[in-house]
């Protein structure tokens, strides 16, 4: 596979598609939200004390509004898993190629992952508090997702702790890949642990009616497009920032080299002057010993004069 720097044509196409992806994503999510609160039916909760008829339909359970969080909470969570997969992929590519462009991509993807994880956590916690009466439950899905959040935060702590760019990129790539292992575990945990009380959305037998499935899918694709657009925008900014930092470093190195060269030149001149004077001093010394002291004084004065020059 070619280096990212050689993908100019593909990158140009992606850049052109970026505003389209953002707008389409935002529109899909907006349609999802409107559909959720207008057309999507309320799901059924606890049993009523006695059945009743509403709009010609028999109702035997309470109706739940809190479930509507699911239409945006799940797409955001799925987007966080998807972007994390890309972050790990770029980390693997970095380890294979040592191309720092992949490190920037991986870091950018991790940023987007953190944003989506925080959004998932906020919406999920509000649902948890309303439905379960507590802000937090050490339930398998919540726990593994919380670990994922800690790992992503740890990734950025590690990034800021290492100064050497090469080591930082290598260590963070390895850490990112290891952190990604938790993503599929968190995604699958509700199926792997039967005692999990977290609702399961992705099931072959979920049987969501079209009026609920369509807004969910709109939200899912919309949020994936928004995540992609955010990633591309952030990547462009991060790549520019990295380039600026490298240019600054190159300019500073150039300045330092110029200063060192000027200092070396001055030192050379000084040494030449000193040597010249010492040679003159040595020539004159055997002729008259008494005159040695004033001559040394004169040499010292000349050297200090040369230094000042």
């Amino acid at each position: 596979m070619n280096s990212p720097s050689t993908h100019t044509g593909a990158r140009g196409t992606l850049e052109r598609l970026l505003p389209v992806a953002l707008i389409v994503g935002a529109v899909l999510v907006a349609v999802d939200v409107v559909w959720t609160f207008t057309l999507a039916p309320l799901v059924q909760g606890a049993q009523l004390s006695e059945p009743t008829v509403i709009g010609g339909m028999q109702v035997t359970t309470k109706l739940l509004l809190s479930q509507k969080i699911f239409y945006l909470h799940v797409p955001v969570a799925v987007a966080s898993f998807a972007v994390m997969a890309f972050a790990a992929f770029f980390a693997v590519r970095f380890l294979m190629t040592k191309d720092r462009a992949y490190d920037v991509r991986s870091k950018t993807a991790m940023e987007v992952v953190l944003v989506f994880i925080v959004a998932t956590m906020i919406s999920g916690d509000l649902w948890t508090y309303f439905e379960w009466g507590v802000w937090w439950v050490w339930e398998p899905r919540l726990t593994t997702y919380f670990i994922l959040m800690l790992l992503v935060i740890g990734y950025f702590i590690l990034r800021n702790a290492i100064d050497d760019p090469e080591r930082r990129a290598r260590f963070c790539a390895v850490f990112g890949i290891v952190a990604f292992i938790d993503a599929p575990i968190s995604f699958m945990i509700t199926r792997l642990v039967p005692s999990s009380i977290h609702p399961v959305v992705f099931r072959t037998d979920s049987g969501l009616p079209p009026m609920m499935l369509i807004p969910f899918l709109l939200g899912l694709f919309g949020m994936l497009l928004v995540a992609f657009a955010l990633y591309r925008i952030a990547h462009r900014i991060n790549a520019d920032a990295l380039e600026v930092e490298e240019l600054k470093r190159a300019l500073e190195e150039q300045d330092a080299q110029a200063s060192r060269a000027a200092a070396d030149e001055a030192l050379g001149r000084l040494r030449a002057t000193g040597a010249h004077m010492m040679a003159g001093d040595a020539d004159a010394a055997p002729a008259d010993d008494d005159s040695a002291t004033p001559r040394h004084d004169a040499t010292a004065t000349d050297v200090s004069q040369a230094k000042e020059d």
Binding site: V33, L42, G45, L48, S49, E50, T52, I54, V59, K62, L63, L64, L65, S66, K68, I69, L72, H73, V76, E111, V112, V115, V118, A119, I122, S123, L126, W127, Y129, F130, V226, L230, I233, A234, I237, N238, D240, A241, V244, L247, K248, L251
Partner: protein, 64 residues
């Protein structure tokens, strides 16, 4: 209101602030990230401008 209907919708109104909070929270987090990105972009463009000026000064100095 019919007591049965009141029971049917008993959890709808209490849940509304949480549902609205969840939707607003998600958009707020995304907006904050966009804000951070725009500030970072501005910072980068300021840096580019500074570098450009430094380069110009250097070229003028070299020319003299």
């Amino acid at each position: 209101m019919d007591p049965i209907l009141a029971e049917v919708y008993s959890t709808v109104l209490p849940a509304a602030p949480y549902v609205i909070g969840a939707y607003v929270g998600i958009w707020l987090v995304l907006m904050v990230y966009v804000l951070v990105l725009s500030r970072r972009a501005k910072h980068t463009s300021d840096d580019i401008e500074t570098l450009r000026e430094a380069l110009k000064r250097r070229e003028e100095k070299d020319a003299r």
